[in-house]
Amino acid sequence: MAEINATMLGASELLPWALRLAASRRVLAPIAGTDGAVRYLPVSPDATLVFSGGRPVRGPKEHFMPQTDPLFTFTGSGPAVALQPVFNHEPAVIFGVRPCDGRALRSLDNVFLRRRETDAHYAARRGQTIMVGLACAEPGWGCFCTTVGGSPAGTDGLDLLLTDLGDRYHVRILTSAGRELLEDTVCSPSSDTEERLAAEQHARAIVRLQLAFDSNRIAERVTWDSPIWERVARRCLECGVCNFLCPLCHCFDIQDETTADGGIRFRCWDTCQFDEFTKMGAGHNPRAGRKERLRQRMSHKFKYLVEEFGQAGCTGCGRCVEMCPVNIDIRAVLAELGTVPSAEHPAK
């Protein structure tokens, strides 16, 4: 018998299902706070799940890469120091993951699992997390996933993909882990009409997304000596909004914090836009100015990662576009890079 790869779930079943799953693992979903701000938080019976609208400003990245991630604790000082490793992980399910954020995990996987040695902290969380995706019905004005090879109904990195059909969800089953998850709820087979409705909804979202720039051979056009860097970087404020909201920016710092009888070594998000990111102890900074740092951000995403893994470090989620305080629109920069001639760095 052929395996069923799609099913239907009543909209009212969603929260009860999530709560049932929460009995045995950590279950996160986009949940509104008292003032409406949405975050991926543990589900609770009185939670307001936000499944409509565009992707939340704050994505689920922090589940895999917590902003502050303890690595180990230490006690004692002087000659007597003892270390205690900390691994924060547990089986988890994340609901309402947009395809751009799901796809972003591929890029994080490349860095944490494939670039030489495996990062056990990330790997443990990644291996135990099931991703219940939600097809994006309302792309934001900054979105450009289709330009970089994604789709509002993309399935990369997801185990299930839900499509909102009003009173019910069309559920596409993508992995066996996703299939097992469905054993905890009541599903009904999808009809041809429902299949069609889901496909139409996907198509409607895709149609709305225009190609923002020519991503073909983009790495070759992200040039070292382009005059764009200087011009665009001039208005950059060097905050970390773009990097911290990015679903696949992964750079981190490692720091210590002391507690009453020892301390904790943790890593925390860091951003290449801050001056101190590459500043060395004696004061030399290889990326000394905002021009260098803007170039690093754009080049890392559209050149270095492409050269290393064959895939751009961007899924077109549009967060940096929409949230940049000074309207540095990565789409516009990349579109212009394709047109502005530049004196190339001799070696490249």
Binding site: P66, Q67, T68, D69, P70, T73, T75, Q84, V86, N88, E257, T258, T259, A260, D261, G262, I264, F266
Partner: protein
């Protein structure tokens, strides 16, 4: 004040005693506290004294740091107006500290946890009563950080101190 101060250890609530920091100006209030000691006056042992050159030296950031690190109350004491060793340091403090107190109140720190007063080198009795007042009002409010488990501040989100 050394910013790297270790956080206060939180004793079990049954034996809880307010943990207070007192910023005392070197010329008056510290001498007043010293006199209280040498006069064998009794005062609550809850304060950790930080000697500062002048009440004007007390950056409101110091006060915030105390609460951040889990203390339950803060005392700032200096020379009476007109008596400042540096002529006017305490006048600056008289603007900054009350404003900081109001502001911290806005963030949810009860005003009774912060005391700003004048204590001269001769006023050992006044020092004792100021410390007593603060200790008792903080005792009534209860511990700041522990209570704040459901309030504020709390243990770091996502950071677990495994030894706890």
């Amino acid at each position: 004040m050394k910013a790297e101060t270790k956080p206060v250890e939180k004793p079990a609530s049954s034996s809880w005693e307010p943990a207070l920091v007192a910023f005392l100006c070197n010329w008056c209030s510290y001498a007043g506290a010293d006199l209280a000691g040498s006069s064998r006056l009794n005062y609550p042992p809850n304060v950790r004294v930080v000697r500062v050159p002048c009440s004007g030296r007390v950056n409101p950031m110091f006060v915030m740091h105390c609460f951040k690190r889990g203390f339950d109350g803060v005392l700032i004491a200096g020379c009476h107006p007109g008596d400042c060793h540096y002529a006017k340091g305490n006048y600056y403090a008289r603007r900054r500290i009350p404003l900081a107190k109001d502001f911290l109140g806005f963030l949810g720190i009860e005003p009774e946890r912060i005391k700003f007063d004048w204590v001269s080198a001769a006023e050992s009795g006044r020092f004792v009563s100021v410390v007593r007042e603060l200790t008792e009002s903080v005792r009534k409010l209860g511990p700041f950080a522990v209570k704040a488990r459901n309030g504020f501040p709390s243990l770091p989100t996502g950071v677990q101190v495994v030894n706890e």
